[in-house]
Amino acid sequence: MYSAGSDAFKSDHSDGVKKTSFDHTLMPPCQDACPLHMEIREYVDLIAQGRVMEALQVIRDGNPFPSICAHVCTAPCETACRRGQVDNPVAIRALKRFAVEFGGDRMIQLEAETRHEERTAIVGSGPAGLSAAYYLRRLGYPVTIFEAYSEPGGMLRVGIPKYRLPGEILDTEVQRLIQMGVEIRTNTPVVSLDLLFDMGYKAVFVTVGAHQGLRLGIEGEESPGVVDGATFLREVNLGFKPSIGERIAVVGGGNVAIDAARTALRLGAREVRILYRRSREEMPADPAEIEQAIEEGVEILFLATPTKIAGEDRQLGLTCIRMELGEPDASGRRRPTPIQGSEFNMGIDTVITAIGQAPQIPGDFRLRIGRGSTIQVDPITLTTNRVGVFAGGDAITGPASVVQALATGREAASRIDDYLQHRYPLVSKDEKEALAGELLPKTIEMIRKLTRFEPLTVSPEARVKEFELVELVYDWESAINEARRCLRCGMGAEILFQDKCATCLTCLRVCPYHVPYLDDSGTIQIPADQCQACGICVAECPAKAIVLRKPQDRRQIDEELDHVLKSAAQAKSKPLIIGFSCQYGLYGTGALASLWRGAKAGIWIVPVLCVAKIETEHILQAFEMGAEGVFIAGCGQEQCAREDTAFWALQRMEKAKKVLAQIGLEPQRLQAFNLYADGEDPATALDKFTERIGEFYLASAIKQEVKT
């Protein structure tokens, strides 16, 4: 069982002592961009090795509700992903969904124990509220959530259509919170915060969201048949089937507009038009969602805006005007201005306005309200003008993303903890330095271009008939191949022992990406923002001055080899064969499985993270410890996500063969397998190899016999 009880969560400042570690990895752009600062590089790497359950563990460590983010995250990480500078960003959200579904997230149960007496109240059960509840519970506080609607989830429930986030997903996460001991009171709108304090709550987190649709401010907006997007989506999501007719106009260009349009289609509307006053370039909605909406038959009229609504319910006449783009405004987008005399009319049954939303804070809360009807808070401590009242989420920012809300929720939990424990709020600082800098053109040129695998989607014809999920989860192979596209930013090589460096220029010459360079003072530099972490220079440096930034990467082969040799010694199987096998791609799962003959067959696998990291010493060490045969199994030059890896693995193998020959061991005891090569099936090739090693072993045993 995954326990969330005792371990304080990451951003906490438990003892204020900075851990000394030899982890020199830099924070990659994806993690830096993620409001939750999730260890994206780590879990993507684990997925690339087929270690899905461990990937899920990493995801759960950094995200209270991974399954929700896996479906609806706006994925700022993908925007920041440097693979985008090469071809297309890594499909991180889809990978997370793969890990959540294949890693067994549904089976995970959470527990939390109560360690504090102070009761905390959360007003609103949206993502920020749920997240705060999760973390407050982990910190050991009794938590009660008050929700005005009939079901918990806030915008997750009433704002996001079910075809993007199925209700069951949200139910599972809510259920887990209840299991952790969070009390959720639905149908309980809070009218006064004083009442909560009277009830004995010591701290209140106000996270009521931004549900109030903004008005167009045009004539006829009050007509029946005009509804705002938030209200429309809420009604549909809560199970009402509003009758909207067949001809729908949606006004706006954000995600709510797209959601409303696609929802309208699913309710049976025949003609759905979105009116957006700017052009597609400025449209704030997620481009993939726009694309999907268009596929489903939504028509988008760009550079158009309504000016007047006339007529009665189901017989609305919508007057619109064409726009043109002028000078950029404060938001940096070009300001649309109406083109005189370009009015046109359309007959519409229902108009859905989705031009933005604002929070609606009850006056009795006595909270100071700022710009855009949001609650004014201290951005660091999330405190309001009232003692013991904290606020977060859309209520303080206006409409934002789910992941942003989850992050504020986590932050709020920390700050409430500080407040209740009478501690000066120590704002958590990132332990790692963020990787800065763009990839240079010469590096980009050498990085292998790998097509992004898009998850499959249900056909547009089928999906508009129902509210089922549009996007499907990856299959095993696509997920692993997609994860292999990660550039592993910030975990590359560094010259750890500058005093050892003889400036021999080996690294500069072996690097497939032209990363190392001589600076003006004649010192070799390996810029962290360019290194692709292939490990070739590390194994080639004649001074052993270069290491990989991640401690685990440095020790991995040594440790695995050590482990295998110990186990093999216990098993006493003869002849012993040791195989260094790449864990990336399908080796971790598919093809490798056929090589894994187990202890009985005497074949032991040392998992390696790319064959380029195997050093000649590793091979010799295997022979020293009693291996009769050693093989290396990995991708060929063509299949590896990186350059030159197979070449260098073979170079080192040749070096080892030379040593073997000088000792009087047959060089054929060492063989490389390219599991993707055409022709012989690797399993058959391995059988042949095993047979040959058996013969060598027998021959040497006889020789030994004769000698004695």
């Binding site: 003889a502 021999c504 010799l620 000792i663």
Partner: protein, 227 residues
């Protein structure tokens, strides 16, 4: 840079045979750069010797492994003081100079050469080294366009090319460029072809009086008044 090549494993095994505890000592300068005896080569040799020992050899050695920045200066060797006490021999992966300085620094411990010091040269590309200098002590590279006929001409002649030069290659091997053709081309490029037309008297081929020594410090007498 000094270029060397590690001795065959078999020879090294023969060298160390009489000694039980052997310190494999790498050198962090030229031997690292030419890939004959830096820290990596040292640990590789260490592994190879251990494989040899476990696979059928009768030997029973104990190996230590260490690399100093430079073996050709006492000060770098001083830090070995504590380690060498317990070893029976030092297998040096330094050049011939290193081996000798070690012998001088640790007079009671046998020192064995692990590499064959080959020449002074430059790396042509990764993993390929070419000889460039013979340390003849009378450099005339200004006259030959920066290309040394002593090391790069098979015969080392001072007035070339000879009749064995064919299409820019040496008659000895088509892999060897004719040094004198290279010299000609380079002088032509520099507009100094008149240097080709000169006759260079034979070098003084008498044996270089060895050992040579260079003293760069002035001899100062602190006893009296200067001038």
């Amino acid at each position: 840079m000094i270029v060397a090549e590690q001795k065959p494993l078999e020879e090294i095994r023969r060298l160390i045979a009489p000694y039980e505890k052997v310190l494999i000592l790498g050198c962090g300068t030229c031997m690292t750069v030419c890939g004959a005896g830096g820290e990596r080569e040292g640990s590789l040799l260490h592994s190879a010797l251990r494989v040899a020992q476990t696979r059928g050899g009768d030997e029973a050695h104990n190996f230590l492994e260490y690399t100093v920045k430079r073996q050709c200066d006492f000060e770098f060797l001083d830090m070995l003081e504590d380690r060498v006490g317990e070893v029976d021999a030092i297998l040096s992966l330094g050049c011939g100079i290193g081996v000798q300085v070690i012998a001088e620094r640790f007079p009671d411990i046998p020192v064995l050469p692990g590499v064959n010091t080959s020449f002074m040269g430059a790396s042509k590309e990764l993993g390929v080294w070419d000889e460039r200098c013979a340390a003849c002590g009378e450099c005339r590279l200004d006259e030959t366009g920066g290309i040394c006929p002593i090391t790069r001409c098979v015969k080392g002649i001072l007035n070339g090319p000879c009749a064995g030069s064919k299409s820019g290659k040496c008659e000895v091997s088509s892999d060897i460029d004719c040094a004198w053709v290279l010299i000609y081309e380079r002088l032509e490029r520099l507009g100094q072809l008149e240097k080709m037309r000169r006759y260079y008297p034979p070098r003084n081929f008498r044996t270089i009086p060895r050992p040579r020594r260079i003293v760069s410090k002035a001899d100062i007498d602190l006893g009296g008044n200067d001038g």
